[in-house]
Symmetry: D2
Subunit: 439 residues, 4 copies
């Protein structure tokens, strides 16, 4: 059988002392951290689109990347080669999951029916590959933003035919996700938002989006898909303003339309920072509100205003993210999907390995640091002590809903000058450093 | 009686041809625009704190502003002079409303009880002034961010005594707002957020904030206050991250805790842009979700990352804001409160007049432009046509909830290539220019 | 002869009262404003690339735009059609200038030599069109960012062969610009910057860029090109950090390498705001430092972090820009080039007209407002008075270099408390509004 | 003698295994790294103003910090206690340098003469303390932004008397810096910029600033001060736009006015990020252009738009900064000044120690990581190889200035398709992680 990355063997854990670039410094899938192995904690996933269809083009430049399957002319054969390459890649890397959009894996046909047929044929191959390799589907999704018909949105399009087409596409994508035993299904509908309010009926667009999602959830139920349904917040890009701006906006939407029992969130690091939040904020917010579903593991550049989708290599970010994941009791059935792409200037196939290794090592180290932090209780005990006045007296009454403004007023009038304690931020940052550097 | 601004007479409308700086170019309170006078549409309010207590200090500089009442040494006498100056100012300016924080109008005493007494005494004077002049209270609020005890927040403080104190303060502020026939009551609790997640129990803090607001609403009901209760979103500053980040975050909170029937939003222009939204976005979002309550009329500097609270002088912004207000059927019982301060370098008392005149003229012109735009139907008809496919056929079924993915799929499979129309943004921007420039 | 935009006649000035969308509300080329006609002041230029080669694709979406020449299969025939369409367009619009990149007008061949031949052939056609229509070349430029070889930069590439290729390309572009009597030549080398400092020798890259520009200027001189040479600042995108970050950075570079006599700047509005400056700041800075050469007239979205290149429709921005241009004594030999593209959702050919009309009207109105402002002297006289202490006494000595710290110290020790005046920002913003709204 | 921090002993190095919060995990002043001790490399300095005069107030809140010297009523006695506390603090912390503004150490008098006398008296005490403790003056500066007279700037003020006063103040500050053997003198004139261009003569203001600096340099020479003179760039805050926006803008200014031989730059981390640059970018730019003079070691919050001046605790940032410092051959006579303040919520005196320990440990670890990175040559050799085409052939000719566009054109016409190599960013980020985590 053809091999797409013959220069690469299975990537092994060798530890940080090793000089080998094609080895893990920190990720050892079998290493037990707390009650699970690293692999079980991290549930890494490769994003099919970034890794197997990106070509390095950007708004100012032509493709820079030549992949081993680029010479195949027949679109279906090329698509199949890409799938085989993907499984070879994931196998060599030792990643247990992948994610895909319907339109990334299979070429479009001349009609929706033909496109569906193409998709079916490729999905059959994927099914075969899943059986052969130890790789499963974390989530599927429908790509509702690339084609010109989606220029004004999918579910939020001003055109009802587009809405219907989007529905048909999601229906099919749900079908194949179910067929492949996908554990989740994601909605990121990148044109559902607006370019200018001057031409936009925001109320109708939001209502229609809710109608769409409700029908999607009903259909998922009808076909027996019991995976998790996920919305993915992003503030802007490609549109000027997206309706799922951030976790809070998506949560507001879910609450308004009574959809919060049926959908959770897929939180992406780069989308968080574009929205003016840290990654850990979005995770904490989603966790606190019971909607932390899955994670797109990447990073942005806080000085750049677009979605750079870089591989996550900042160990502070991975530590704080894994802290939230541990406090959440893990992410299952979600996972850590590398929604990340190698830079345009990192155009050699080997860079795909370097990028993923960099990200996997950073998360492995972050897991160990976060676990040590949790185990030590240094943060938790500080926080518990800080809020202990809510454990008894008037604090307890507040928490139990057993007081009112009259009583609180009497309490306040009787209280001597209040002395609050230091927030100790600088000290806590030193503590964090110790766990990041010596986990 | 003493006069604080003897160099200024009542500000009159003179039109743009006039050279008089102390006159309105566009604001003519009696001018009828559509079904109301300008004054009825705009419901302008002066912010007591910015206009009568700001001293021009900033994090790098000492006060620059000397006001006529600054020489009075006794704090209560100074506070009273300030109140009389405020009403003289508002009367000369012809502004029908004002807003205040409890701690801006009256000095603190040695205890909460004494502070309350001070407040009562000043409120009696305000009551007298309200009767004398044609000026009313748009809203009152409690200042829960200045004092050291609020360093970690008010309702979200880790200390239950602080929570109680905040409750007592809001109780009193509600009492005096009711006494003064205030039409609204605002909650902007600027320390309710976090400095670092490392020391923060976000879940408890949000729950407590909801408990606080529920008790506040109950208390308002108890005392027969039938004004509107308002949350004011702001993304950051003074804290690193505020819980009421933007309209959507505040709405999510209200929905989660079933408070959306009892609270609406006070939308501020500068807070909108700090959160990465346009002013008109926040207004549209709030309007669409039924929670547009009132407006803090100011502007930020999109290139600066803090709350500059400048007077609103951009006629595009005022036009688009008034468009939302008109589409909302007006703001009543809310209004347009100038939460704006003159620049540190505009330290002369006369600059207070220039600032408000600039803002009032900009909103008056914006009202006329927005009204002309609404009347013409140029935008509305474009938008209606754009979404007309939801008026019949499959579109109507979607909107009426009378279809599902199976039917939509069949429809999509039968649909010929979909042709959508241009969004026409550039043309619509020309149209907007025409109404802004020739209303 | 074929007509590409048969649905459009010559765009005429009809004034704001007219309902005609395909007419100017404010731009009347013959109208005299001060000492020149509007056309002479504004020197509008169409950007060939945006208007005739953009297809509406973005990082998340396929092309949306079908142009009349898109069906022509032969690349040279298509290129020729595009040129003829461009001149028809410019003629109908009444724009007197255009700008182009070498690679936008003519297709690449299999070798540099063949590419050069293609370019020559197209340039011959352009020459013919220039003669036929009343349209001239504002500036030419070489596109040194699209091809994969430029992935790490052109003049700043780590590869000397790429440097040589870039030189060859600029040489040819200078040749054809000279042949077409271009009045300027622009350098925007979008990959001259870095993606990561980890792999970058900034010192060598800057030195090489200076060597490149010096050779370019020498070559221009050799061939007798007496147009203006221009650098175009941009802070980022496509690279993480561009060497010509803003006007000040470009000016620092020119001073360091003694190139400030040979190059001026092409200031772009959207690049200004991406760099954290207002458009008028960059114009003022360039003007003050004697390097204001030409202008790319567009606008960004201050809430978005990428180069949106929208048509300039904000009359405040155009007024303040034209104020700088008037104070500069005009822009000649530079001009106002619409480096702007219609939105992806404005994909119909007619939108190209709407976009340009919107921009031209906004600048025409801005010119009138700026002219009225200058004529009135309201700003100038305020500013002169503000600085009048430098006209005599110690101020005069400071300006004339006729004092030192010893004397200034004695002066300060003798000075009574200093009273400075208000900066009057709010009042000046009202004044600006009056001129913008009633020019 | 009174002790201000009796609860703290001398802070010792105990290593990361120690549980002691008041000890260094990484900073061991005597540890030799390469050719110097840690202390010699790092040259830490305490900022007098942040550490001994900040009170925790912010634009929305009252002071939160009570210091041991706050109860002393007499201003001069309080100032002296503060100085003694400072030296006790620096001694316990083991920091070898400090920095101060004239107005932070001594109170203002009723006249400039009296203020100068106060300063003299305090400086005498400082001189005494310097002798007693092993602490020296890294730099002095004059505070030209706090007082109302500086509302429109110091050297760039529209008022010549203000210019003179600023000159007198700098003169005195240079005198005392010389007297205290200060190794540098810094100019950060926080109001030298503008609030609005509408009232600003940028040309005159820049010219005057240059005149001011030239006179300052002349005066420094006159009095035999042979320390380094430094400009400190900052983009904005307190003004809307500062003239020393970033390193490049300051360098442009120095080149334009022929001041680059007399001034270098004091680069601050937080100012870098406010200007849209990374800290390491500003260091690299300054180093490459020969003007890296000293460093203000702190950090901002990239999601916040103001100068948060936090203690630097991100080891990536300190590693990349120390990499530049090492490549610069050290910073002498500059140093690493902690221009950082504890958070408003970290109001206890002990937090001052925690903050500095956090910063010193982060820089110590960064030094070790950077040193290991340099020693290993992993980056350097990659970079050298990347640019090796400039070592011979056409590349060498380019670098030696021995070619022209004609020759380069011939070379390009002869060159076969150019193949450039990958930039390897992801791999290099893995390498960086290895050195940060295992130095």
């Amino acid at each position: 059988m053809e091999e797409f990355f013959p220069e690469v063997d299975r990537i092994a854990y060798e530890g940080p002392e090793s000089d080998e670039a094609l080895a893990f410094d920190y990720y050892d899938p079998e290493e037990v951290v707390g009650d699970r192995t690293m692999a079980e904690h991290l549930r890494f996933s490769v994003a099919f689109w970034h890794t197997f269809t990106e070509d390095g083009s950007d708004p100012f430049g032509a493709p820079t990347m030549r992949r081993p399957w680029d010479d195949i002319e027949d679109p279906m054969e090329q698509a199949k080669a890409r799938v085989r390459a993907a499984f070879e890649f994931m196998d060599k890397l030792g990643v247990p999951y992948f994610c895909f959009h319907d339109r990334d894996v299979a070429p479009r046909g001349d009609s929706l029916a033909e496109t569906n047929e193409n998709l079916e044929e490729i999905v059959a191959l994927i099914e075969e590959q899943i059986e052969r390799y130890d790789v499963e589907l974390l989530w599927g999704t429908a790509q509702l933003f690339y084609e010109p018909k989606y220029v004004h949105g999918g579910a939020s399009s001003p055109d009802a035919d587009v809405f219907a087409h989007a529905a048909a596409q999601v229906k099919k994508a749900l079908d194949v996700t179910e067929r492949l035993d996908g554990e989740n299904f994601v909605f990121w509908n990148g044109r559902d938002g607006y370019e200018t309010l001057l031409n936009t009926d925001m109320g109708l667009e939001l209502d229609n989006t809710a109608r769409f999602l409700r029908m999607a959830a009903d259909y998922a139920e009808d076909i027996g898909f019991d995976g998790q349904l996920l919305l993915e917040p992003k503030p802007e890009e490609p549109t000027k303003h997206q309706y799922d701006f951030d976790a809070a906006t998506a949560f507001a939407f879910l609450r308004k339309y009574d959809l919060d029992d049926r959908f959770a969130l897929n939180v992406e690091a780069n989308h968080a920072t574009l929205a003016g939040h840290t990654f850990e904020h979005e995770l904490r917010y989603a966790r606190t509100n019971g909607v932390l579903g899955s994670v797109d593991a990447n990073r942005g550049d806080k000085l750049l205003g677009w979605d750079t989708d870089q591989f996550p290599t900042d160990v502070y970010a991975t530590t704080l993210a894994m802290y939230e994941v541990l406090e959440n009791g893990g992410l299952t059935p979600g996972g850590l999907n590398f929604d990340a792409k190698v830079r345009r200037a990192s155009f050699e196939p080997i860079d795909l390995f370097y990028g993923h290794i960099a990200g996997m090592d950073a998360f492995a180290r972050g897991l160990k640091a976060a676990h040590a932090l949790v185990e030590s209780g240094e943060l938790t005990s500080f926080v518990e002590e800080r809020y202990e006045s809510y454990q008894e007296g008037i604090g307890r009454k507040i928490v139990e809903g057993d007081t009112d403004f009259e009583e609180l007023n009497r309490h306040a009038l009787d209280t001597k000058p209040i002395e609050v304690g230091s927030g100790r931020q600088e000290r806590l940052e030193s503590v964090l450093n110790r766990y990041v550097l010596e986990p």
